[in-house]
């Protein structure tokens, strides 16, 4: 992976290389350079397959991280390209013209994280959730327990306990 990274840094302003495994590594790239980097990887370096496009919500830092995971099937290795976005309003350039499958991922990200991809096909239609009207549910400032308690009328009497404490009391009741 180091050789590839050295080649790429000649042309692109990349961040540090994070090598997870010999065949899997991640780099960070500014969002203006993303498209040209993806095109370069696809056409010159043999990373022809977009494995996935996913997001991480860094709530405290106030940004989203998009990860474009690319696969080079011939060389059997994966490269993840990370992009940091402003969290509010979250918007990103679409890459559905590079890989048609990206349109599906972008629809999902639009619905679950509220990241907009202007121009992506059917991006504003409902994807999995039907008629969702609140904060996108995968954002970390969306409190699912509070939402569930409010909307789904929980049955009273449900109790939960810490598994470690519970087993300690079950196994060694005299020592607590």
């Amino acid at each position: 992976m180091r050789d590839l990274y050295d080649r790429l840094t000649m042309a692109f302003p990349l961040g540090e290389l994070t090598e997870q495994r010999p065949d899997l590594a991640f780099v960070t790239v500014p969002r203006e350079q993303l498209r040209s980097l993806l095109l370069h990887l696809r056409d010159q370096e043999g990373f022809t397959h977009l494995v996935l496009l996913t997001a991480v919500d860094w709530l405290e830092e106030g940004h989203f991280q998009l990860t474009y995971l690319m696969n080079n099937r011939r060389a059997c290795r994966d490269l993840g390209v990370r992009v940091m976005l402003a969290r509010d309003p979250a918007s990103m350039e679409s890459i559905h013209d590079l890989w048609p499958t990206a349109a599906t991922y972008q629809r999902e990200l639009r619905e679950m994280f509220g990241i907009d991809f202007p121009g992506s096909p059917r991006v504003d239609e409902d994807f999995i959730l039907e008629g969702w009207i609140r904060t996108p549910p995968y954002r970390r400032d969306f409190d699912t327990l509070k939402f569930s308690d409010e909307v789904f009328a929980p049955r009273p009497g449900r109790a939960s306990s810490d598994p470690a404490e519970f087993m300690k009391q079950q196994l060694y009741p005299d020592k607590t």
Binding site: D126, I128, L129, E130, G131, W132, I133, P137, F142, T144, L145, F147, S148, V151, F152, A153, P154, R155, G157, R158
Partner: protein, 222 residues
């Protein structure tokens, strides 16, 4: 109930439209009025005599026809049940592919809001008398999905439930025991779920509409 949410747009196939029939006539179709029965369900009175109603209930208990609609992971327990290993057919229980031919709805495990919409439609299309069995902890109090944003936590808020079978997952033996329990309830004349649904129709509808925001179907689609 929050009413300030925007009403979703009506789906294209539910909009009024003008169509040309095969014999050349031009007619106007209003799918919500023409394709569905909009009138609310009614309570089915018991038979005129107690002994006849008892006979009916005995017959109902011995013919349980399950709607083959697996809503969650619990549906996997129905495969060994309907095959030789546990063979529910020897108890007079069998599966049907359509709601029109079945009278028992097994809600198998977690129920997402999206599935709930389809479940309500299927339930309303089943002929009376009909029964609902809630399978697994998810239907009782949410189970491991108690804090999920898209699975309901209490089934009995949305449909009348006759029997709950606890477990995550309950074994096929537990399901058989649950079906036997349901038969006892039916024979005792206490499985009045469909009548309860008709009596408290407004309450059930209000609950259903509180969670299903894109309600683009009639209130009662039979």
């Amino acid at each position: 109930m929050k009413d300030d949410f925007p009403t979703p747009p009506v789906r294209d196939e539910l909009k009024k439209r003008v169509v040309e029939t095969p014999d050349g006539q031009t007619i106007e179709i209003d799918p919500l009025r023409d394709y569905y029965c909009q009138s609310a369900p009614t309570v089915m009175p018991a038979a005129y005599s107690k002994i006849v109603e008892g006979l009916f209930n005995w017959a109902r208990a011995e013919s349980l026809w399950i709607l083959g609609f697996g809503t969650g992971c619990g549906a996997i327990e129905m495969r060994p049940l309907m095959t030789p290993r546990f063979d529910a057919y020897r108890y007079g229980i069998q599966w049907r592919p359509t709601p029109r031919q079945s009278n028992l709805f097994v809600i198998s495990g977690y129920l997402s809001v999206k599935t709930l919409k389809r479940v309500i439609r299927s339930y309303e299309q089943m002929p009376n008398p009909k029964y609902v069995v809630g399978l697994g902890s998810c239907t009782i109090n949410g189970g491991m999905y108690f804090d999920s944003y898209n699975t309901i936590t209490r089934l009995d808020q949305y449909l009348p439930v006759d029997v709950y079978i606890a477990g995550c997952m309950p074994r096929p033996e537990a399901l058989l025991a649950g079906f036997e329990e349901l038969k006892r309830i039916i024979r005792a004349g206490k499985a009045e779920g469909a009548n309860q649904y008709a009596e408290q129709f407004d309450w059930y509808k209000a609950n259903q509409k509180r969670v299903i925001h894109d309600w683009d179907m009639p209130d009662y689609n039979w």
